[in-house]
Symmetry: C2
Subunit: 514 residues, 2 copies
């Protein structure tokens, strides 16, 4: 039909160093020759393994200022192909040193995301297979493996088989799906008629605690409910939502003509990992007929450890739940698990099947995941989870999560025993919130000048600890106090790393005092 330029072929046995890849040129059509890909990918694997073996020697945070990298890169893409060896060398020269090392065992900031090695092998296969499980048809294995893995995780979390779900990119999307489904379940007909007409002039409302994650507020923005739709119910002294105030808020809003759409309760808030009391909240949700979504994006992993399931009591009564495998289940980003007892409601919020996506020739009904999410296309996220869950086994996952919880408990005890530091929140999982509070200032914390001084001192302390490069801590505010978070959850974190973080905190505090 047409004459194509010949593809270049390898001349013979192919050496595997980067320099020798420099003769790889790509001046025809089509893709790289598979044998050249093989050689290049072997070289990349060696560099990847070296990276993992040596990641601890690096500073967790790269010591660069914003804009530095952009300045050294050309402003336009090259016209001519560049040698593969040069490109791969540039990854090692330019990319790796300027990464924030989420794989570093000293990564104790935010909540960790680790890419386990078994998960990385899964991502490698995922990349080469290029599956798009939007329809069963477009990826039978991607679709069915996702159904299987969702079932595996659901059971491992101790939830009944009435829950089904899907894998999304992030908790933001999972929570958005939940609130969208709640919106339909509340009778708003938002998907069909929009919130203006569907709500009939009344205001749809979403309830969460003052400690709940920003993704809930963002979902309200995106879904057209608006930030103002989010009612922030006060938390108690331990940062847990107060069910009595929740019930009061709902009653007052109903009296004022509002439409309660969803309650989002959190097991493991981002600031302090506090736990909302799910059972009484579920009671309120059931009584009021309001969709209950449980955000367990971080802490949900703990539910696979039966002796630690206390904080999860009652979550089986939720309408939907999010748990992020790419947080504390060590799965490469991205993978968020959305579960619901009401998948028909989710489908009502998102199903839309145009002719060009209609499947014609299957006799049995198929499960097309695109009908349950805002996007059409989607990555195959199940393979890496399937491989990793088998590699560790549930027992292995439990042992690792339990070990992180124990490390946090030990750190909490150490903080409690140290007169110059104080712990700022309970430690139900693997995160310790603390601050430096020299014993000389004990009892004077409420004086305005002392508050300001302690905030500034802790901000400096955290910066000093992070500047060592050995660990990376992040912060929050708790009861309007600057709090340093030590969040344990990286797969590679061992006792010695947490111990070192604690040493550095005390050491740098002494330096600042001096």
């Amino acid at each position: 039909m047409t004459d194509e330029a010949p593809r270049d072929r390898p001349a013979g046995p192919f050496p595997e160093t980067f320099a020798s890849l420099d003769h790889v040129q790509q001046d025809g059509l089509g893709d790289m020759d598979p044998e050249r890909f093989r050689a290049a990918a072997h070289a990349v694997v060696d560099a990847m393994a070296d990276y993992l073996a040596g990641v601890e020697e690096r500073a967790v945070l790269p010591a660069i200022e914003p804009g530095t990298i952009r300045q050294v890169l050309p402003a336009a893409a090259p016209d001519d192909p560049q040698p593969l060896g040069t490109i791969l060398a540039d990854v090692e020269r330019l990319v790796v040193p300027n990464a924030t090392h989420w794989q570093h065992p000293g990564f104790l900031a935010y909540f960790a995301t680790t890419a386990s090695s078994a998960g990385i092998l899964g991502e490698m296969w995922t990349a080469v297979l290029g599956q798009n499980p939007m329809l069963w048809r477009t990826s039978p294995i991607g679709t069915e493996l996702e159904q299987v893995v969702v079932g595996w995780l659901r059971a491992a979390l101790g939830l009944p088989a009435t829950f089904d779900g899907l894998l999304t990119d992030t908790a933001s999307t999972s929570t958005l799906i939940a609130i969208a489904a709640a919106r339909e379940a509340a009778g708003l007909r938002a998907a069909a008629a929009g919130l203006g007409a569907g709500a009939g002039g009344r205001t749809p409302l979403v309830y969460a605690s003052t400690e709940a994650h920003s993704s809930i507020e963002k979902a309200c923005m995106t879904l057209g409910l608006g930030r103002s739709a989010l009612r922030r119910v006060p938390a108690d002294g331990d940062y847990a939502l107060r069910p009595d105030l929740l019930a009061e808020a709902i009653a007052a809003d109903r009296a004022a003509g509002g439409i309660p759409v969803a309650i989002v309760a959190t097991i493991g808030t981002t600031s302090s990992t506090s736990v909302d009391p799910i059972a009484p909240i579920a009671e309120i949700a059931a009584r009021e007929g309001i969709w209950l979504h449980v955000d367990a994006a971080y802490a949900g992993a703990v539910a696979i450890v039966p002796p630690r399931r206390g904080p999860f009591e009652g979550w089986e009564r939720a309408d939907s739940i999010v748990v992020n495998p790419h947080k504390w289940l060590f799965t490469p980003l991205d993978a968020s698990l959305f579960l619901s007892r009401r998948m028909d409601g989710v489908r009502a919020a998102f199903s839309l099947v145009p002719e060009y996506l209609r499947t014609l020739d299957q006799e049995r009904p198929v499960h097309d995941f695109a009908e349950y999410q805002p996007q059409l296309g989607r990555r195959m996220r199940a393979l890496k989870l399937w491989m990793q869950l088998r590699y560790f086994g549930l027992a292995g996952m439990r042992r690792r999560i339990d070990a992180h919880c124990r490390l946090a408990e030990e750190l909490a005890a150490a903080v409690d025993a140290e007169p110059d530091f104080e712990r700022l929140a309970p430690v139900p999982f693997s995160t310790v919130c603390l601050r430096w509070r020299p014993s000389a200032l004990a009892g004077r914390e409420d004086e305005p000048a002392v508050r300001v001084r302690l905030d500034a001192a802790n901000e400096r302390l955290m910066a000093a600890v992070n500047a060592t490069g050995e660990v990376f801590l992040s912060h929050t505010r708790l009861h309007d106090r600057f709090a340093i978070r030590v969040a344990i959850g990286n797969l590679r974190t061992e006792g010695r790393h947490v111990e070192r973080a604690w040493e550095l905190l005390r050491r740098e505090a002494r330096t600042l005092e001096a």
Copy 2:
């Protein structure tokens, strides 16, 4: 701080076959030993290269019925770790044969997504680095490389530097971002106050042609505008939006108190790859003060080929544009490019910075991508694009895209010359819509019985061609006729594959006739 179980170490030099990996056990804490990862990843690379080398020998669609795979898999995750060799062997035994082979050069359905080999190398690095460029801080390289690659693509597409943007997962998300920004730009204050209060009782409206993609309708559902907010403006005989009818619809809606929020024009619709006339539509958008979003998710790739830029005339006047590198720019799923001249408007729709994400110690202002999208977390998508654009060079990308267009033009000519087939739409890019219409029925196409017969015959014909496994075609309806689409866009597709598809269509048609 705590005693940990020792990690297992390799006993010595590590063989590389799957069977020999069976002794890999993982009974301690932490991750796989890096040397074991190295050996396993080398084995996976060999299997990956073998897959790419042999993908053409496979049937594009696996010959299985829905539910088959689920039945053979255990209902629960294993408690004990399983040997890595077994897991990797299962990938080859169970996963690969049940994939729809998007990498197959005979994949001519929907729009192709190819994972180029250079892109796969990028995904491998992406997996091991585990970057989350939600904040500059959480991935300096992920953030700045994304800024660079967005600039490279913007320039390559011939768009002015007033456009900036980000990489999202899919065109669904990119279009949702556009309409969310448009909503704010129209003064609805949806992000803050919600669509009920913000719209003041008036109906927000979005305009697109009857041929526009379902993702626009889905974005309206998700954003709380509702399906009813989407005004489907009729297309002309060539499936292109009629600007005169667009202007009429806007005027009528304004008169009725509606609020026009956005116009979505498409360059390369999904059914027929038709082109909406952007210049007159941009004129209307400017006159009316309505946000113009251009959906060029598929065809946008062609804009990197200057001699083929005709259909894009005027798109530089759009407020936002989506082009999907994971479609016709051969980038592994997922990667969608969102561009806008009004990034401040995008930020207004999505920015939300809680304390625990506030960056404290940088003096220069930073660009945090999470402020421009519905999600907080995000994968590093720039690395694979950066590597791939350098590997092919823009000239190489242009040559490949141009070759696909030429193949489609040649197929279109062949269809036109064949009395028993007819072409159902113009071919501005790389997709040919056709149907079998035996010459004996020529001139009788409008008889109801003939219409039904032709629809059924073409549905059977497509099924028969797909059943060969050599190619995979999909369908749509054009002017209410069943249309078979031959969509060229896989990086590996050569002239012989398109020629073979055309042979199979004619051969199977003869069989069905017999």
